[in-house]
């Protein structure tokens, strides 16, 4: 009897992972990013969210290797005097929390609805898919922007900022669940007619048990690929919302808000304020996308690598 670890090590999954250098490199980089986000409070030289630490006299200091730079601020400081590197760590953290949270919400809603629609068919299916279709025809980013805008107008900028993290998570979460619903539904409809479902029904399991305990695990591979892509998309949506001013406030900036704040400073020469967070964001999203691509290739094997 092999342990789960041994089985995993011998699986095709792991084999193809080891062979694909891009996937391995992306995975390592991703893990590094995650570690940085988790340990942000400890590895940062300062807490950029705490106003006490910030000295406006420190603003716009260039990165260490340039003239006027200082080793205290490795990548320089922003317009408020915050250390760039620390702010980037914290910003990454916020982006990940919102990104994962939003996708978890999307997945939850999407899976429950998609599973129900696919398995129960008939009217449930028709209604749920109509709703999904209508929402689908509206691009998710516009929906997110609209919802955010309306919130801000209704409740004022102050309370918006206070509730920013959960609000953003919910907004992004609500704007793109149809993609999960559709994928799961398609997969479930395929599984529905297989023998093990028939068997479970004959044994007398209640409907929901069959749906969640039997059918769902078999439909999960399609969800895994979507999950990675959606996390990348959610992180980008949050960055976009923050850039527009509907996201994290300037006092607790995420990468998007940093880019926004730094934009005008490229004209006065302090390019690092906007460029560094931008590159940070791009690399992060890039590795997620690369892993998602690899995952998609691995989970849909074609006999011939064309």
């Amino acid at each position: 009897m092999k342990t789960k670890l041994q089985k995993f090590k011998e699986s095709y999954f792991f084999y193809s992972f080891k062979r694909d250098r891009v996937a391995m490199a992306s995975f390592i980089v991703l893990v590094i990013f995650l570690l940085m986000a988790i340990t942000a409070p400890w590895i940062s030289s300062m807490n950029p969210y705490d106003a006490e630490n910030i000295d406006i006299m420190n603003s716009e200091i260039p990165p260490m290797w340039m003239a006027d730079g200082s080793p205290e601020f490795i990548l320089g400081t922003d317009n408020m005097g915050r250390d760039m590197l620390s702010t980037m760590f914290y910003g990454l953290r916020t982006s990940i929390i919102i990104g994962l949270g939003a996708v978890a919400l999307q997945a939850f809603i999407g899976i429950v609805l998609g599973l129900s629609a696919g398995y129960m068919g008939g009217k449930t299916d028709a209604i749920l898919m109509r709703i999904a279709d209508i929402q689908f025809s509206f691009p998710y980013l516009i929906m997110a922007i609209f919802i955010a805008a309306i919130f801000q107008v209704a409740f004022g900028v102050g309370s918006y900022e206070r509730l920013a993290v959960p609000l953003l998570t919910i907004i992004i979460g609500l704007s793109n669940w149809p993609i999960f619903a559709r994928t799961i539904r398609a997969s479930v409809m395929g599984e529905k007619n297989k023998e093990y479902v028939e068997a479970a029904r004959v044994i007398g399991f209640p409907r929901f048990t069959i749906m969640f305990r039997h059918v769902l695990p078999n439909s999960l591979t399609s969800v895994m690929v979507i999950f990675t892509i959606q996390v990348a998309s959610a992180v980008q949506s949050e960055a976009a919302l923050s850039f527009l001013g509907f996201g994290m406030p300037v006092t607790r900036p995420s990468l998007g808000s940093l880019i926004r704040a730094g934009q005008e400073y490229i004209f006065s020469g302090s390019w690092w304020i906007t460029i560094f967070p931008g590159l940070w964001l791009v690399i992060f999203v890039l590795v997620i996308n690369l892993l998602g691509d690899w995952l998609r290739d691995v989970l849909n094997p074609k006999l011939y690598k064309g």
Partner: protein
């Protein structure tokens, strides 16, 4: 004596991620002007691959690994793609299985016929249209002028297949390769199409390679028959002989399983088990796990095609 078409020791492999597998092995046959040959076997036996390899159209990742194909004295298995283009649709035409999938849905029938002619000959659109009409009439399509301006989905399955046959006749080819031409059609139309095909081959003196799993059709239309199993030809001979006196145990089973081959009330013969997939071919004779006559030698040595009685060649140790 040189034949119109000569296939010798043909071997086709597929290059997969996990290694190469052999799809057809040691296939040889000849075809003369006006001769009709049937390639029979189950799905996966290799008959379509054989048909495609004649005009070098095997889907990737397949490739010809050994053997040769000669047509009109030239070695076409060595031809480049642009050389093959002069043969395809011109000297050797092919008919595919499902006429709905074969015709491009976004172009009219006329368009698809005229372009075929213009690809091989330097003729004007008007002339090409005239030839197209002539061929449509040959396949007995009602109101041919209208058909030219219609789209594939506006026509019935039987008509579509007639059109495909008409297309294959456009350049007056020497050979037609028909890959399961009637499988996708209604039973009532099947007979009509096969009759048409046979008649055309006789009147135009064209060779025919009929690839099918339908023994009844083969028995009627062809003069020679090659039975394929797991990528090899296991029986080869004149059609009437093979049908009346099948030699190889597999062929015996095949013939015996045709409804009508046994007396009313008798059980139809069934062959237990299934044909192996290309990756699971057993050592020795590929048929040995299912064969009643199997002996030790059958599991060790692969039998070669040898002359047995009645002018039939079969690959069997026991016969």
């Amino acid at each position: 004596m040189s034949h119109l078409l000569e296939v010798r020791d043909l071997e086709v492999k597929f290059a997969l991620r996990t290694g190469d597998i052999t799809a057809i092995d040691n296939v040889s046959f000849t075809l003369d002007q006006g001769e009709r040959l049937g390639l029979v076997g189950e799905s996966g036996a290799g008959k379509s691959v054989t048909g495609f390899s004649i005009i070098n159209l095997i889907s990737k990742p397949g490739f010809i690994s050994r053997g040769s194909i000669h047509f009109e004295g030239k070695k076409i298995s060595d031809y480049s793609n642009s050389q093959m283009r002069t043969i395809r649709g011109n000297r050797i035409s092919m008919i595919f299985q499902d006429p709905m999938m074969t015709l491009n849905p976004v172009f009219t029938i006329g368009y698809q016929m005229i372009e075929t002619l213009q690809a091989h000959q330097n003729i004007s659109k008007g002339k090409a249209r005239a030839i197209a009409l002539e061929k449509l009439k040959k396949v007995q399509i009602p109101s041919p002028e209208e058909r030219l301006d219609q789209y594939p989905h506006e026509l019935s399955g039987g008509m579509r297949q007639r059109i495909i046959i008409a297309i294959s006749l456009l350049s007056d080819p020497a050979i037609i390769i028909a890959d399961e031409p009637t499988t996708a059609l209604d039973v009532t139309i099947q007979a009509e199409i096969m009759d048409l095909l046979q008649e055309l081959c006789e009147t135009e003196n064209m060779g025919l390679i009929l690839i099918t799993h339908d023994l009844g059709v083969v028995a009627q239309v062809t003069e020679k028959i090659a039975v394929m199993y797991a990528g090899k030809i296991i029986e080869f001979g004149p059609t009437d002989q093979v049908v009346a006196n099948p030699t190889h145990p597999y062929t015996i089973g095949l013939i015996g399983s045709i409804p009508g081959s046994t007396l009313p009330g008798e059980e139809l013969i069934q062959i237990p088990g299934m044909m192996p997939t290309l990756t699971d071919i057993p050592p020795g004779c590929a048929f040995n796990p299912r064969c009643e006559l199997c002996e030790t030698i059958c599991t060790r040595e692969t039998p070669l095609l040898e002359k047995k009685q009645n002018g039939i060649m079969a690959a069997c140790h026991m016969k």
